[in-house]
């Protein structure tokens, strides 16, 4: 797996989770949210978010529509579909499993590995 694939995958998962928690949101909102939650740990160019959104939409995990936001700006709002929700659940589960395994592995002492 190429590095970009990993980053895109992670980013996609974050987008799904964000939309799951906050409901319909525009691109900038999603970017802000991810930035806040990850505490600037994930220093990505915000621009890279858009190809990810496109991919998710092509895959049918999210839909988009144009709407007016606060102060009457026209913006494109992204929304989670049922399939996207299922995907999020599945990926969250597999992420947890992976995390648990990695955690246990790092917690292991030298003698455990012998």
């Amino acid at each position: 797996m190429k590095e970009t694939d990993v980053r895109q995958g992670t980013l996609a998962l974050m987008v799904l989770k964000t939309l799951d928690v906050l409901g319909p949101l525009h691109g900038y909102g999603i970017a802000r949210r991810i930035e806040q939650i990850s505490g600037d740990l994930l220093t990505v160019n915000q621009g890279t978010l858009y190809p990810v959104l496109l991919k998710l939409e092509q895959e049918g995990s999210i839909t988009s529509e144009w709407g007016a936001s606060e102060n009457n700006r026209k913006a494109r709002f992204y929304n989670l579909t049922r399939q996207g929700r299922k995907q999020l659940q599945a990926e969250a589960r597999s992420w947890e499993q992976t995390a648990a395994i990695i955690e246990r592995f790092f917690a292991a002492k030298v003698e455990d590995l012998k």
Binding site: N45, Q46, G47, P51, Q58, R73
Partner: protein, 892 residues
């Protein structure tokens, strides 16, 4: 699933691209505006706020780029663009494009056509439901000609009753049936079948029914089934035909069915008649029928063979030998089972020739591809600078490769499309005029598998001739080419190597094809030089007729009528002489054989020994003289001998040698055709007649007088005349025969030459194809050598100019170039000789009187190629000699 959905979204989204672009821009603008606003709220200055927003977003253009790539399928887009470019570039060089397209169209078209033939004849299942389960029933019999034997009526009863593996089973044979009272009297092709044959084929009749067991039983009403073509031709497709009576072979029969249009059978029958065997009179003998069966589902041919072997034991025990025979003779014939797919029965041995032709045309296509690759190399040479500049500007190796390949594939597909058109036309012509020796001819057509083959072939050829220039030039070294050095120093030796290799390969392949056609020419010569047992076949006209019982009952009366007709025919203007016989030379290849036993008085059979089985012919005096068959010793029959039914016989030379070692010793010896018949004195020995075709050993013959205890009711006149084959002669012959014989049908009207040519049809067909292929290969090979030398000369113009200026002799310079061409050809010839020695083994079954490694053919072909190569390199080399040194130098 997700990936698939995404793929289709991307595939279908290139139409809306301008609007999508707009949306993306709006969205990005919105994003940056929001960030700027937030930054302002955080207290930045207006300029700083926007700068930070842009920084945070990252490279806008790069984002758009990624976004675009993701939205659509960039590969497809470039592909389409490359194709457009390719077409545009090809249109700019019409001569080049036309040359390539024509070469490819011929190569691909020829291969597609022959694949269509092979597909229709060899690959596709027969036109019956579930045709894989259909088998032909044969027997191995070491003593029989070709080692295989057909079936006898007694086998019909045994196999029907005892088999465990057949779902349906029956016997059939084919022949003529005289139909009178419908239109002009005519002899039509009839198929005689027992109950079970049509059931096995499982083609339901269009009208009426199949034969039942009752139709087979002697004494029941006589019936007939029409095929679709005959029904249309003679009855105009009248649907009330069932139950109507027809007069066939002078007796009435009731029409009980009509077969559908799609029904096909061997020898293309017009009428189907029941074959009737009387259980009470059949014996082990009369192997005149072919067996056909539908195997029970799941039964293999091996299992069926085991079953047949078991039944042969039962058969041998169950039936008496023919009168006068010893049943030990049948045991010693060692009959064994030999079941084969019905397709093999139908297709016969035409497979080898077709595969050889396919291989041949495949080689031609290879040569064509090599040539096109060479043309592309020259073109790429011209584009080297351009490619190098593009590489320097950052075009990736893959990008350039793709572009070049797309251009070649486009050419390949265009050429292939033209080729399919050619193939379609060629097949139409073949079906309309094809030799009727080709089985399943009317089933030949272009179907999806043929089209798929053509497409595959086109892409493959495109890739084949595309990859060579790609490997040469796509990785062009930027520095070396851009340095401008190429203008003064010629192209590197490495570039020549690719072109030289291609030319050598072309020469090698051309040699293989020329050797193949050379071998076929030699075979044809050998066949032509066989003394066939007759002379000047172009001036011999065969006409068959018959005298049914209804017209003349007594044997002597029938014979008088034949003689009267013969005398009247001989009196026709332009007719030199006329002979009469039961069957004339080479009619065997139409499927008529009459092999019977013959016994010699002084060669008593050992117990269980199988008697000799020569071909029997019943002839009238003068037949040999008309045909041109030489009498070696003794004399012809006389009319007195015929009418007095004297016991005389004439035998062929090979039979006489086999029995008595010397034709002269045969005179006065006594033979008979049945163990119960009277002994006949041998009064003459005639030369061998190659009755089965020139490439087959001449069969042994026994000639007996045309009037014996029975008379020859169906016979052939052989008319020697310069007008043979003309409409006028045939009209007169018909009038003459009808003046004696009522209105009996004339049939099997052929000149002997037609049959003679037909006996060599396979050889001449293969010869013509190979000669065309060889000619094309030679031509392309010459063009290849010419091209290389001409190119080298043009590249070295400057060098030549300097040399001439320094005093080089033009003869010496000529030698340099000619030697180079000769070297190429020599390498190709060496390669080709090795390849030919291997590949021609595959066609050894098509050869006659010459081996696959015939030294003469190899030597002549090699010499021809070398001479032609010298010529092909001399012509362009001569151009170099007239170069003015000053011009060459200034040309820089």
């Amino acid at each position: 699933m997700k990936a698939l959905r995404r793929f289709f979204r991307r595939l279908t989204s290139w139409t809306t691209s301008a609007r999508d672009e707009e949306i993306l821009r709006t969205e990005i603008d919105d994003h940056i505006a929001r960030q700027t606003a937030d930054n302002l709220r955080a207290g930045m200055t207006a300029i700083e706020a926007r700068r930070q927003a842009l920084l945070k977003f990252g490279n806008v253009e790069a984002t758009k780029e990624i976004y675009r790539d993701q939205r659509r399928l960039p590969f497809m887009e470039t592909l389409l663009r490359d194709m457009r470019h390719a077409v545009r570039r090809l249109r700019r060089t019409p001569a080049f494009t036309a040359a390539v397209l024509l070469t490819l169209a011929l190569g691909i078209g020829a291969n597609t056509a022959i694949f269509g033939v092979i597909d229709s004849i060899l690959l596709r299942p027969l036109a019956y439901p579930d045709a894989e389960a259909l088998v032909g029933i044969w027997h191995t019999a070491p003593a029989a000609p070709r080692g295989i034997s057909s079936s006898s009526p007694s086998m019909y009863f045994t196999y029907r009753e005892e088999n465990r593996t057949f779902q349906q089973f029956g016997l059939w044979n084919s022949g003529g049936a005289g139909v009178t009272g419908v239109a002009e009297p005519e002899l039509v092709r009839a198929l005689f079948v027992t109950h079970g044959v049509l059931d096995a084929l499982d083609v339901k009749p269009l009208l009426g029914r199949w034969f039942s067991a009752a139709d087979d039983t002697p004494g029941s009403p006589e019936t007939v089934i029409l095929t679709y073509g005959y029904w249309q031709r003679q009855f105009g497709g009248d649907r009330s035909i069932l139950g109507r009576a027809m007069t066939i072979n002078a007796s009435p029969r009731t029409v009980i069915g009509v077969m559908p249009e799609a029904f096909r059978f061997q020898r293309d029958p017009e009428l189907i008649l029941p074959a009737r065997f009387d259980r009470n009179t059949v014996n082990l003998g009369t192997f005149a029928y072919q067996g056909i069966a539908r195997l029970k589902s799941g039964v293999t041919i091996t299992q069926a063979n085991a079953d047949l072997g078991r039944m042969l034991e039962i058969w041998m025990r169950s039936w008496p030998p023919p009168p006068g025979f010893d049943s030990a003779a049948f045991r010693n014939a060692r009959y064994g089972p030999r079941i084969q797919p019905l397709k093999q029965d139908v297709v016969g041995d035409v497979g080898t020739a077709l595969w050889v032709v396919m291989g041949t045309l495949g080689l031609v296509l290879l040569i064509a591809c090599a040539n096109v690759a060479n043309l592309f190399l020259v073109r790429s040479e011209a584009r080297r600078q351009e490619l190098a500049i593009r590489a320097a500007l950052g075009a990736g190796w893959r990008r350039i490769t793709q572009e070049m390949l797309v251009e070649c594939m486009t050419l390949g597909v265009l050429g292939g499309a033209l080729g399919v058109g050619l193939a379609y036309a060629a097949l139409r012509i073949l079906v309309a005029n094809g030799p009727d020796t080709l089985p399943r001819l009317n089933e030949i057509r272009v179907d999806p598998s043929v089209l798929a083959f053509a497409l595959g072939l086109s892409l493959l050829s495109g890739a084949l001739f595309g990859l060579i220039p790609v490997f040469k030039y796509a990785r062009a070294r930027v520095g070396a080419t851009l340095g401008g050095a190429s203008r003064t120093i010629g192209p590197s030796r490495e570039h020549h190597r690719a072109r030289n290799t291609l030319v050598a390969v072309q020469v090698a392949l051309a040699l293989v094809l020329l050797v193949g056609s050379g071998l076929m020419i030699r075979t044809f010569q050998q066949l032509r030089s066989v003394r066939p047992g007759f002379t000047d076949p172009a001036t011999i006209q065969y006409v068959h007729s018959s005298i049914p019982v209804a017209i003349a009952k007594e044997s002597a009366r029938v014979m008088r009528m034949w003689e009267e007709m013969r005398d009247k025919l001989a009196a026709l203007p332009g007719v030199t002489s006329v002979g009469f016989a039961s069957q004339a030379p080479l009619e065997s290849i139409l499927g008529f054989r009459n092999m019977q036993f013959l016994y010699a008085e002084d060669k008593p059979l050992q117990a269980g020994q199988v008697p000799r089985g020569p071909e029997h012919r019943f002839i009238a005096p003068g037949f040999f003289r008309t045909i041109g068959t030489r009498l070696i010793v003794g004399r012809d029959f006389t009319w007195t001998e015929v009418y007095e039914q004297r016991h005389v016989a004439i035998v062929s030379e090979n039979l006489a040698r086999e029995w008595w070692n010397d034709p002269r010793a045969a005179l006065g010896k006594r033979v008979r055709e049945r163990p119960t018949a009277a002994w006949r004195e041998v009064v003459g020995v005639v030369e061998n007649v190659y009755d089965y075709g020139m490439h087959v050993k001449a069969p042994e013959f026994a000639y007996l007088p045309a009037l014996m205890d029975r008379v020859t009711r169906v016979g052939v006149f052989a008319i020697r005349s310069d007008r043979a084959g003309t409409e006028g002669l045939l009209k007169e012959v018909q009038q003459t025969i009808w003046s004696v014989n009522g209105r009996q049908p004339l049939f099997f009207v052929n000149t002997l030459e037609t049959l003679y040519d037909r006996s060599m049809a396979q050889t001449s067909f293969t010869l013509v194809i190979l000669a065309i292929a060889g000619g094309m290969a030679l031509l392309i090979g010459i063009v290849g050598i010419y091209g290389v030398i001409a190119y080298v000369v043009s590249q070295r113009t400057r060098e030549i100019g300097i040399r001439i200026a320094l005093g080089a002799q033009s003869a010496g310079l000529l030698r340099v170039f000619v030697r180079q061409g000769l070297l190429l050809a020599g390498a190709g010839v060496a390669l080709g000789l090795a390849a030919a020695a291997g590949l021609t083994q595959l066609m050894s079954s098509l050869l006659f009187g010459v081996t696959a490694v015939d030294p003469l053919t190899y030597a002549v072909v090699s010499a021809l190629l070398l001479v032609v190569s010298v010529l092909a390199s001399y012509l362009p080399a001569r151009r170099a000699m007239v170069i003015e040194p000053v011009h060459a130098l200034r040309g820089e």
